[in-house]
Symmetry: C2
Subunit: 329 residues, 2 copies
Amino acid sequence: MLRTKTLFVFLVALGMLAAAIQPVYAIDEPLPSWNDGAVKQSIIDFVQRVTTEGNPYFVPIPERIAVFDNDGTLWAEQPAYFQGLFAIDRVRALAPQHPEWTTIQPFQAVLANDLKAFAATGLQGIAELMMATHAGMTTVEFDATVKDWLATARHPKFNRPYTSLVYQPMLELLEYLRANDFKTFIVSGGGVEFVRCFSEKAYGIPPEQVVGSMIKLQYEQRDGKPVLVRLPEVVFIDDNAGKPVGIQSAIGRRPIAAFGNSDGDFEMLEWVTAGSGERFGLIVHHDDAVREFAYDSGAIGKLDRGLREAPQRGWVLVSMKNDWKKIFP
Amino acid sequence: MLRTKTLFVFLVALGMLAAAIQPVYAIDEPLPSWNDGAVKQSIIDFVQRVTTEGNPYFVPIPERIAVFDNDGTLWAEQPAYFQGLFAIDRVRALAPQHPEWTTIQPFQAVLANDLKAFAATGLQGIAELMMATHAGMTTVEFDATVKDWLATARHPKFNRPYTSLVYQPMLELLEYLRANDFKTFIVSGGGVEFVRCFSEKAYGIPPEQVVGSMIKLQYEQRDGKPVLVRLPEVVFIDDNAGKPVGIQSAIGRRPIAAFGNSDGDFEMLEWVTAGSGERFGLIVHHDDAVREFAYDSGAIGKLDRGLREAPQRGWVLVSMKNDWKKIFP
């Protein structure tokens, strides 16, 4: 009886210890929203190879860096990039202070909901729209504006907050990688300050692990307080061949895993998987018109080269329709 | 007896648990190379205020960001910035491949050890020296070159490897902050890729937590493999008003503590300590001619405005001579 009691107390204490050090994935089955099959297995196999000491492909913890595209990879990107929809909403909100906008493009087209006229303004129109809505304020003011929009705006098709249109299977993947001591980064073509407004809450990714496109910032004094002002000048586009550059500039070493969905992620996948040792590249293919959207050839999220070259490059192709049990949380 | 035994086992197990969660600083006295006094106490007080739950100045872990200048704050910077000494050594090493350098400045001056002639080439000369030695190779090649130099070069005064000229009290400070769940970043006027070559080994700061000056990178294919080539074009100078910009670009939130040594760190200290809540700013003053160097008015590490305004701004001034028991490890 004595020994049983002693043993019992000891086991309880041991259990407390074990619980404290038990990683999440060992308690629950990893990736529950992923259907069983080759894709899910390839992820698990990769993680086991790089995290098992003694395995020839073992990777020390500091080098376990995984990079994720955002638009179309972690959250939806149709009918247009959400940051673009934010810009359009901002033009409408700011229009009363800009009466001249009713006569000049691209603002006239945006305010009139004239998609054709807006398209005709081309890249120049997009640039002007972005600068009018993303520059000319302090970083603190921009942050507050984006957060207010995220809290109130609704997606035109799903009628839900944009931050609820994140992909549940990808949230589980982020969690699974972090439980295995990966550091997860976003490497987005979107504006870095825009993505940082929701990355921590939506994905558990802190602002210092978000890489993205950047406009110029200027340090100034306003009312005796220092501020950073956003200027209408693009200094870095974190897309296509810009993604490996963004990775090197911000992270300074080559990640071992990359996740994308469009040809804008091609060079990122190429750079990451060209490294020595075990590497992992994955492309999310939007082929689920019922639960989300089916596309790979339009202006947004075009996936052509990636689709063709994925097999020969050893990149895993995810069919949202077949590989994911659910899309949104 | 039974109950004593039971209790004993339980206490042992509890002790194991406690040991597992005990932070390092509670076992050893923090900051052993700092002399007791107001400076050391101000650091400890700050850390205790922001880490004690219930304290009005408590700061949640994700926001515990501390930024450190490198040259003159974490390692020495005399008789010249070590990256400059690297550039000079590289000119000598590369000279056989550049016979033209014996007739053109600033290379002629460097090769002839003619400091006066080099000084006469001004900022243009420094820029040309830096570009000739820091650009035109891949990131991988540059990394190998710097690491080789760090392993073999010796400081002209101390005749020791440059990476041994780090400040022991600052290493302890980094460790103390990290033991209290701070994330420590370097924010250096030096080249980000240069500093990353030793930051992890010398300071325990991984490359993704190094912010610095940057030259342009270009993604290319060489021999069927992707590379990032360093181009002779400066894209960002992370000094003076550039430091808050670098912090916002790379970290995306305002740190709560900043450590510097020169007026190049003034805006960083200003930006950090102007935030709301508890903030900490500290300036290392080089006033120890015997153990290191005494300077604050030369071209390197000039500290004038910082020295004058530190008291009214509440920034802590460290006298290396009086506050540090030892300088180097």
